[in-house]
Each structure stands twice: as structure tokens, then as C-alpha cells.
Amino acid sequence: MATKRSTSSSSSSKSSRGAAKLPVGKEDVLAWYEDMLLIRRFEEKAGQLYGMGLIAGFCHLYIGQEAVVVGVQGALEEGDQVITGYRDHGHMLAAGMTANGVMAELTGREGGYSKGKGGSMHMFSREKQFFGGHGIVGAQVALGTGLAFADQYKENKKVCATYFGDGAANQGQVYESFNMAKLWNLPVIYIIENNQYAMGTSVKRASSEVELYKRGISFGIPGEAVDGMNVIAVYEAAKKAVEHARSGKGPYILEMKTYRYRGHSMSDPAKYRTRDEVNEYRDHKDPIDQARKLIVEHKFADEDALKEIDKKIKDIVSKSADFAQESPEPDPSELYTDVLIETDA
């Protein structure tokens, strides 16, 4: 029970042409397609701006993994929190943060979510309940568990979606957090984005147990492996996990089997895997292509309407790139602000 694969029970995974019963309607599918496309195009643009020297430092692109955040976000409700590591641009866009604000943070400008003081790995939006953006591998797992602790304390019926990668899954504090989360039945969903490489080290080379969804067994936390390239499968699994957590039954682990097309960061040539492996995902499992196929099969939109969406997304992204270059650098006086919250004393 604790280790059931959602793919075997999911109706959406049966690809009977045109007739597959979907757990959601046209609006959701189209909205998710749009969200995934926004993330894809945004990240491609970020890569381009990085190449032009407008974005600096570490920049980790989310291309290939779009279905994970979009599907999970679809299962959350307003007020639920989201927290993740440093590959965070997709999570922010999915949480409803603006492309302008995120891109301007990438370029280190005043108009960025952290006024240019955080950068790619450190962005936040209290308004959208997005709690970062954390640069220390695994730190967000304890922090997300703490956000869930606050939810339970305040009895607000909210849950915290806590994302981390296959690399972070080997950090000690992850298991300290699992233990407390189950001990106290905190409303937290742990989403392991297993993109198969922790920087350059494959899961096989780093993990004694490669089925990461089993990592909660000794704590009594149920876990499931999910096809993370399929937004519908992600949504269905997330919905179940969110209901579990919200109903007071405690934490839930979802291992999203996914793949990043680009290197770990911009300066990673990704020589630890073959081009064929990347192409296999890109050509046959791409989350956006899959969603597009679904839309066409179910006649949710025709080619013209899809082109319209492409155009709209391209426009948003292109405007965000303009904004990110036009927004000024932070004023030098910002150097000393936000170190501490001012008090009377």
C-alpha cells in the first residue's frame, strides 16, 4: 500500500485514442499546458540571457521537469505553501509569481522579487505563499516541515508542498524531518524530483536504494513513484497526497520520475550522460508534447488556438526579458537594507 505506483491505477495512463477518461476538464488541461509552456519558454530565455552575460552566477534550468510543478500546483489550494531548492524558476511561475519579477531577479535588478539581492536560487513571495528558493541542498526539507508545523499549530487546514531532488534525498536532515513530520503527523507533502542526476552523479552511483519513494517506509510515511513527465499522472498523485495530508493523516512522499534536458547549471557540459538518452526523453516523453497531444486528441483546442497560446507565452517571456534589462540595478543604499527588521530599541 505504501509503495503503490500511481501509474498502475491512473486512468489517464491508458492511452486509448481520444477516449481516455481524464480526471479533469478542458480548462485545467489547457491551463496546465500553458503553464508548462511558460516555464519552458521562460527557461530557454533565461539560458539565452545567461549566454549574453545578463544573468550571472549559478543558474539551474527546469527544462524537462515542467509537468511536476504544474501538476502538483493543480492539486493545491490557495494558501498552501510551496518551498523548494535552487532549481526554482518553474515553481515560482507555477505558484503565480510574475515572469517579470522572476526574470528581473535573475538579472539582479531592482524589479526582481528580492530587489536583486537574492538571485536565481533565492527568491520568495509571501503573497503567493512561495517560501524559496534555497541554495543549501536539503535545507528546504526541514524548513518545509516547519511551515507544515506552523499550519498544524494554527489549525488552518493548509499543507506545505516541499520539493527536493534525488541528490538532497541523501541528506541527513531529510530523514530528521521525515521522522518529526510523521511523529507529529504534519501536513507536508514531500515531492522528490528525481531527475536522475545529482549534478553529475547518477542515482545509481549515489543511492543504495534507488527507489526513492521507499525512503519513508521506516518512518511509516506512504510513498509512491509517479510518471513525472505526465502532468495528469502528477496531478492525480498529488491530489491524493494533498488530501491525505490535509485530512490530518500526516506526510506523504511522491517520487516524480523526471528528467532535466539541460546541464545541472549553465556551466555543466553534462558529459555524464549520452545525447541519445537526452533525446529519448525529449523526443518521446516530453511533458509539453504529451499535453499537446492530449489536447488535440480531446479536441480541447485546434492548431490555431494552440498557435495563439504559443504566441501569448512568447510575448510574456519576451516582455519579461525586456523588463529584466530595463529595470535598474538596485540603488547602492539597498546594500544596507533588509539585514534586520528595524525595531525601536
Binding site: M52, H134, M180, Y261, S267, D322, P330
Partner: protein
């Protein structure tokens, strides 16, 4: 409009590279994500992917070309509906829009004519004085007046700390206490005694032995709107958790542009205990006081312990509250007033004197006062300053004192290298150099891990005699 493909920077430091290989030729259709070329830098070979859809119109750089500058156009893509005629005029600056701006403001900034890059390049001197202002805030407030006739209640430091937590928990129901053995066991050092009975297990939370984890959970709960008081059984064990204290609690407000306040108190005994060896006897004062984004408090007596812990719990920032096991059981007067809260960042002159200033915090304050009494018998009047808060440091009070005494001894329990005394000596030397009649002296633990053997432990830790010796030395007395 044709699209220029520019030579990309593949790392934060790359300025130029070799175009090793083209994997497309004019006429090829490409879509976003397709590999179009391979580039070599001094570190690696990387593939360049197309970011736009189109048809390759023209390759502007030959295969094998070395020293291709970042951002130089390397190819031209034709958009849907365009043919080769669109190439005319392109490649020499026709089709670029945003790339231009980038080159001008980023690449040529060596010439220093771009005002925006200059703007962030504040002169070192300005930064230094600003940072002084930042680190050593001048505290506006001073201790509240104790009305005449107020009862003074003799209280142990231990109970004063407990009273502070209990009062703040009554006042604000988002305040809760978590840590190892804080609830049912009533506290490893009994500091949380009675809290479980009054507030119940929801607000007095026993954690597993899992410092890294519960420090992170505490910070997350603070981000989520609660006011955690996290007890470390000792700060020695907080070393497992220090990543969350610094990277998560102290830095996130800044990195979020002011959005992510973290109202949390980390408290527990710090420094030497008695015969527990090196791993259980470490004084972390200077470690935490080094970090912007934290407030660091190290009180001595019961009134300060209570008043400053209440202030720490109310403070919207992360506070490191360093207690001392060896003074938990000592009793001092606490004014019996309704709400005893003291200002953070304000030192206290514990004894006035004209000949030498002695700074100390936590347990060393007691030693400094004892030393001062003995020095007085020999005709040397020492002024003893209890720092109380290490960050922000009340440099004003210290400097005012040194201007009067012209001599300085800095006493601390921890190691001296890069220590609290080193910082105070530097500040006083910089800001009151002309008033000093002797180089500042430092009293601290010997530069070794704390030994277990009774005689060696005694030799290692600083005490009254060390302070007396240092005070005499700066007074050039026998």
C-alpha cells in the same frame, strides 16, 4: 526580422571560446533545444542549443575559430516566412535588439564610463564607515527606570529565564518552546520547568535528538508566522544545526529583499561547563557575533536574563541567546514589575572606575567584578562594562569609558583568536586611538581544546587572576 545567434557565455567567468564544430548548415531547420554547435572553453566542451525556431540562414564564424568573444554574433536564423534576402544587412548589427544593450553595459565596463556599474562600486572608505554604523548600532533606548520602592526578588538565572518564557507565552499564543527534554523531563537544566503544565504539549514540544532537523523546523515555523523559542541542550550541539541558524535564519530576510522575517530565538547554555571536556565546553560568542542578520545576546545576571530574553522573543529577527550553565543556579535580584523588558544592543556599566575599562559578557562579568574589587584594594579603580549584547555591539558605551580611563582589557571565556576582544580592541583602536595610554589587552581561554584534567582545565580557562594581571599590565603597575 532575422535572429542573431550570439556566442554564449557558458560559465560565470567565460569571456571567449573556440567554436569547435557546427552541427547545422545553412538551410537546416532548427527548433528550440536543437544542438547547433559545440564550443570549447578552457574548462570544457559544451553544446550550444538553439533557443528560437527557424532556418539557419548563415554561419558567421568558421568552424575551429578561436577567441570568439562572448556575445559576438555567430549565426543568423531566418524566421518563418523569411528567405535569404533577409540576410542582407544582417550580421553587422541589423537584427539585434537587446544584445546591444548588454554588450555596452557589461562588456566595456572596464572603461568605467557606465554610470550604473560605478554606482554599485562604492568606495572602500564609505563602505567601511557604513558597515561600522551597521554592526555597532547606537542604541537609542536605555534600561527602564525601576520605580522607587519596587520590590527586588532574589531569583536564580534559571528561573528568570523560565519566567521570561512563561510571561511571553501568556502574552502571545504564537510563542512556543521546542527542544530536547524541554517538556516532560522539565528541561535538561530545568530551565523550562513547569512550562508543560501551564501550556501543554502543543506549545512545549519535546523533539527527538535531531538538532539539524528541529532547527530547520523552527526556522520554517517562524517563516510560517510563529515565534519559536528553540532550546539547544547546549550550544555545542547547535554546531549540527548551524547551517539553519546562519544560512536559513540570518540570511533569508536579506536574500528575499525584506519579505522573509524570521522571529526566532535559539537559546541554551554556551561555553565551559565543569570537567566535560572539549566537545561540551565551546564558547560560540564570536562565531555568531560575526554574522549579519543575527542578534546575539549573552546576559550575566537574572534581571538581564529575564529582560533580554523577553526582548529577544518579541524581536522580529533571529536572536542567538547564549546562557551559561555555571550561573544558572546563581541568584540575583529581579525587579518585581509587571513587564520587565530590556533593550537589546545596550551594554551596562556594572561598576564605575577611572583607571581601566574591563569589558566582559556572560559568566566573565562576575570574574571582572571580582577582579575590580581586588584591584581597588591596590589602588586601581576599574570600570566594568557588561556587554550583554554582542551584536549589535554597544561600542558607544565602551568608547566613552575608554576616553575616561584610557586603558582597556577585554575579557571573554572563548578563544582569543578572531574573538570578541579582538573586535573590541580593533574598534577602540580605530575610534579612540588618541585616548589610549596602552595597547588594549585581551583575556581569554588558552589556545587549546578545553582539557578534562582538573588542573589543566583550570590552567586553560580565564579567571579573576588573569583579568587582574591584564589590568595591571595596561596600567603599567607592578
Amino acid at each position: 526580422m532575422t535572429i542573431e545567434v550570439l556566442m554564449p557565455a557558458l560559465s560565470p567567468t567565460m569571456e571567449e571560446g573556440t567554436l569547435a564544430k557546427w552541427t547545422v548548415k545553412p538551410g537546416d531547420a532548427v527548433k528550440s533545444g536543437d544542438v547547433i554547435a559545440e564550443i570549447e572553453t578552457d574548462k570544457a566542451t559544451m553544446e550550444v542549443e538553439a533557443v528560437e525556431e527557424g532556418t539557419v540562414g548563415k554561419l558567421l564564424v568558421e568552424e575551429g575559430a578561436e577567441g570568439v568573444k562572448v556575445n559576438a554574433p555567430i549565426a543568423i536564423l531566418l524566421e518563418e516566412g523569411e528567405d535569404e534576402s533577409a540576410l542582407e544587412g544582417a550580421g553587422s548589427g541589423g537584427g539585434k535588439a537587446k544584445a546591444d544593450d548588454a554588450e555596452e553595459s557589461d562588456d566595456d565596463s572596464g572603461e568605467d564610463d557606465a554610470p550604473e556599474t560605478k554606482a554599485s562600486d562604492v568606495s572602500a572608505g564609505a563602505v567601511e564607515s557604513e558597515s561600522k554604523r551597521q554592526m555597532h548600532t547606537r542604541p537609542a533606548a536605555s534600561d527602564p527606570e525601576v520605580p522607587e520602592g519596587t520590590d527586588m526578588v532574589s531569583t536564580t538565572v534559571r528561573d528568570a529565564l523560565r519566567d521570561a518564557m512563561a510571561e511571553e507565552m501568556r502574552r502571545d499564543d504564537t510563542v512556543f518552546v521546542m527542544g530536547e527534554e524541554v517538556a516532560e523531563y522539565q528541561g535538561a537544566y530545568k530551565v523550562t520547568r513547569g512550562l508543560l503544565d501551564e501550556f501543554g504539549p502543543k506549545r512545549v514540544v519535546d523533539t527527538p535528538i535531531t538538532e539539524h532537523g528541529f532547527a530547520g523546523v523552527g526556522v520554517g515555523a517562524a517563516f510560517g508566522g510563529l515565534r519559536p523559542v528553540v532550546e539547544f541542550m547546549t550550544f555545542n550541539f547547535a554546531m549540527q544545526a548551524i547551517d539553519h541558524l546562519i544560512n536559513s535564519a540570518a540570511k533569508t530576510l536579506y536574500m528575499s529583499g525584506g519579505q522573509m522575517g524570521c522571529p526566532i530565538v535559539f537559546r541554551g547554555p554556551n561555553g565551559a561547563a565543569s570537567r566535560v571536556g572539549a566537545q561540551h565546553s565551546h564558547d560560540y560568542s564570536s562565531w555568531y557575533a560575526n554574522v549579519p542578520g543575527l542578534k546575539v545576546i549573552a546576559p550575566y545576571d537574572s534581571a538581564d536574563a529575564k529582560g533580554l530574553l523577553k526582548a529577544a522573543i518579541r524581536d522580529p529577527n533571529p536572536v542567538i541567546f547564549l546562557e551559561h550553565e555555571l550561573i544558572y543556579g546563581e541568584s540575583f535580584d529581579v525587579p518585581d514589575v509587571d513587564d520587565w523588558v530590556l533593550p537589546i544592543g545596550k551594554a551596562k556599566v556594572r561598576r564605575e572606575g577611572s583607571d581601566v575599562t574591563i569589558t566582559a559578557h556572560s559568566r566573565m562579568v562576575g570574574f571582572a567584578l571580582e577582579a575590580a574589587e581586588k584591584l581597588a584594594e591596590e589602588g586601581i579603580e576599574a570600570e566594568v562594562i557588561d556587554l550583554r549584547t554582542l551584536r549589535p555591539l554597544d561600542t558607544e558605551t565602551i568608547i566613552e569609558s575608554v576616553k575616561k580611563t584610557n586603558r582597556l582589557v577585554c575579557a571573554e571565556e572563548g578563544w582569543g583568536r578572531m574573538g570578541v576582544g579582538a573586535e573590541i580592541s580593533a574598534v577602540v583602536t580605530a575610534e579612540a586611538f588618541d585616548y589610549l595610554d596602552a595597547p588594549p589587552a585581551r583575556v581569554h581561554q588558552k589556545d587549546v581544546p578545553l582539557p578534562y584534567a582538573a588542573n589543566l582545565e583550570k590552567l586553560s580557562l580565564p579567571g579573576v587572576e588573569d583579568i587582574i594581571a591584564a589590568a595591571k599590565a595596561v596600567c603599567y603597575a607592578e
